[in-house]
């Protein structure tokens, strides 16, 4: 019997996949819809102190194997967001994503999210396209430590920190979260990126640069989770380019306890969660993983499977390919 239950610290999720922040999660009813699509939880849009329109259009464009966005953290502000949470919270687990300019704002926002019924807060320390927020506060380990400490003393619910891949000191930032008492890290947010129109000889996005997401991001995210797993003791939630069960399995084997899906909601539709769950369950059954935690970190040498088992796995995979062709 295979169980898809995922544990991230003290929290337990019926399904290991969550909707990543920024995807179909600005309104209460959108979040309810996604909970009904096989997601174990929904991470809300990142919410700040005041209503924010975000960047002017164009703020999104497709690119090879992914997409680049510079939404600029549009949200109705923490006060009005209470109404959206009221609609969503009775239907399942909502993780409240928040962004602030420093420890004080983060603490205040987290308190509100806890009041609204969020099961955890996710600190946006990683948005690559908002001046004074996101990765601008999330790439300095000392600032990260201060923010996580402030939030930890403000709330009782678990505190997750979403990290940016746009840093050469990712492990140090992860350690800062852990040392400040953070309950989990979420890795990774989008990669800072730009798309230029040759005809117009200028960047397409109004903000000039944005964040790259989608399939192309997956190997970057898997590497980040793998490296974080080697230094951290707290759980890791993997995110970045997951659209199939294989992608999810990679993240889990790299060391993630659960995972999030974002861009694939566009490319595959909201039903992507059901497809991933089914595929993951079949894989776990075939390869003898009884639970998500049994698969967690399996790609690390200490946790890896014996050569014989690996060989068998590869052969079986090839068998399938041959039959398909």
């Amino acid at each position: 019997m295979v169980s898809l239950i995922a544990k991230v610290g003290a929290l337990s999720f019926d399904k290991p996949g969550m909707v990543a922040s920024g995807i179909m999660d600005e309104t209460g009813q959108s979040m309810v819809r996604m909970l009904g699509c096989g997601a174990g939880a929904v991470v809300s849009k990142s919410v700040g102190m005041k209503p924010n329109e975000g960047h002017a259009n164009p703020c999104f464009t497709e690119t090879e194997g992914g997409m680049v966005n510079a939404m600029g953290l549009p949200n109705p502000g923490i006060e009005l967001f209470e109404e959206e949470m009221k609609v969503a919270v009775p239907h399942g687990k909502i993780i409240g994503s928040i962004y602030g300019s420093g420890p004080e704002e983060f603490g205040a926002l987290a308190g509100k999210m806890e009041d609204y019924g969020a099961c955890a807060v996710e600190l946006n320390l990683s948005c690559p396209h908002a001046k004074g927020y996101g990765m601008e506060v999330g790439t300095d380990p000392r600032m990260v430590r201060d923010i996580v400490s402030a939030v930890k003393s403000a709330v009782d619910i678990p505190v997750w920190a979403k990290l940016t891949p746009n840093s050469h000191i990712l492990a140090d930032i992860g350690m800062a979260v852990q040392e400040a008492g953070g309950d989990a890290v979420v890795a990774v947010n989008t990669l800072k990126a730009m798309v230029i129109s040759p005809e117009f000889a200028r960047p397409v996005l109004s903000n000039r640069f944005g964040g790259l997401s989608g399939k192309v991001l997956k190997p970057v995210g898997v590497r980040a989770v793998y490296d974080l797993r080697t230094v951290l003791d707290i759980p890791i939630v993997g995110v970045g380019g997951i659209s199939t069960w294989r992608d999810a399995a990679e993240y889990i084997m790299a060391g993630a306890s659960a995972f999030q899906v974002g861009s694939a909601v566009l490319t595959e539709g909201p039903c992507v969660f059901e497809c991933i769950n089914e595929g993951l369950e079949a894989f776990m059954h075939d390869y003898g993983y009884g639970s998500v935690s049994a698969m967690e970190g399996a790609a690390h040498e200490r946790g890896g499977r014996s050569n014989r088992e690996c060989d068998r796995g590869v052969l079986r995979h090839q068998d399938v390919r041959v039959r398909m062709e």
């Binding site: 179909m24 819809r33 329109e53 999104f60 549009p74 009005l80 117009f200 909601v265």
Partner: protein, 245 residues
């Protein structure tokens, strides 16, 4: 480029992409807001958009001439289902542009409605394809004296329709829906909301839990009763609720 009226122009551009009637594209001219526009003409190698000058971006687009460049991404959205029996296609104001490809491809009966005869657009084109095209103007300066919904009810009394396809101001769509309910016939309405990504990911254009850009923009009689925000409220760019009435 075609002048459709004193404030509306059609821009034809080379584009091979396959587009279905009722789909839209995101249109961008450097330095301006990127905006969603219905595709108003579908040929194999060319497509068109029909733009009414109402805001900063649309006024600037009007200044473009032959050879100038625009950036198009898409097509997005579901489009109309043209296999729903005997159809009546209704276009109101510049919303007419969004239903023209449905008229061209189906040859169905159609209504083009506008405030005055000067605001009626694309009627010559529609007349070449529609089995029975009628015009309605609010002031009676052309065709039927009254609004689209009144004329629709008249035509439905003359002939049996299975489904009404419509695009226009939300108030027109609302009363079209009510009339279709009363008549016991189906309807497909093309909706509009403020959009950012246009592709179904950011969720800022939702009506209830449906993304207008991806699940719509066309919603049918089974979905519309679930859209409690229809002709009631919309969301601003921050996601705040704004009343429509």
């Amino acid at each position: 480029m075609i002048e459709e009226s004193y404030d509306t122009k059609t821009f034809v551009f080379g584009w091979n992409e396959e587009v279905r009637p009722g789909q839209f594209v995101m249109v961008w001219v450097p330095g301006l807001d990127e905006i969603p526009m219905s595709v108003s003409g579908i040929n194999a190698r060319t497509k068109s958009i029909t733009v009414k000058a109402i805001g900063e971006a649309t006024r600037k687009i009007h200044e473009l001439g032959v050879g100038d460049r625009i950036r198009i991404r898409g097509p997005y959205g579901n489009g109309f289902d043209l296999s729903r029996g005997e159809m009546l296609v209704v276009g109101g104001g510049v919303g007419t542009a969004a239903v023209i490809p449905a008229i061209v491809q189906s040859g169905a009966d159609a209504i083009i409605a506008a405030r005055t005869k000067d605001d009626v657009i694309m009627d010559d084109l529609a007349r070449r394809y529609s089995k029975d095209l009628r015009i309605a103007t609010d002031d009676g300066s052309m065709g039927f004296h009254g609004n689209a919904v009144q004329l629709m009810k008249e035509m439905a009394a003359e002939k049996r329709y299975d489904c009404v396809l419509a695009c226009g101001p939300e108030v027109m769509l609302y009363f079209t829906y009510k009339a279709c309910q009363d008549l016991g016939i189906g309807c497909q309405l093309s909706m509009e909301r403020y959009m950012k990504c246009g592709a179904g990911i950011c969720g800022c254009c939702v009506m209830d839990d449906m993304r207008v850009c991806k699940d719509g923009p066309v919603f049918d009689e089974r979905q519309i009763p679930l859209l409690t925000e229809f002709w009631k409220s919309k969301r601003d760019p921050c996601g705040r609720i704004v009343s429509l009435r």
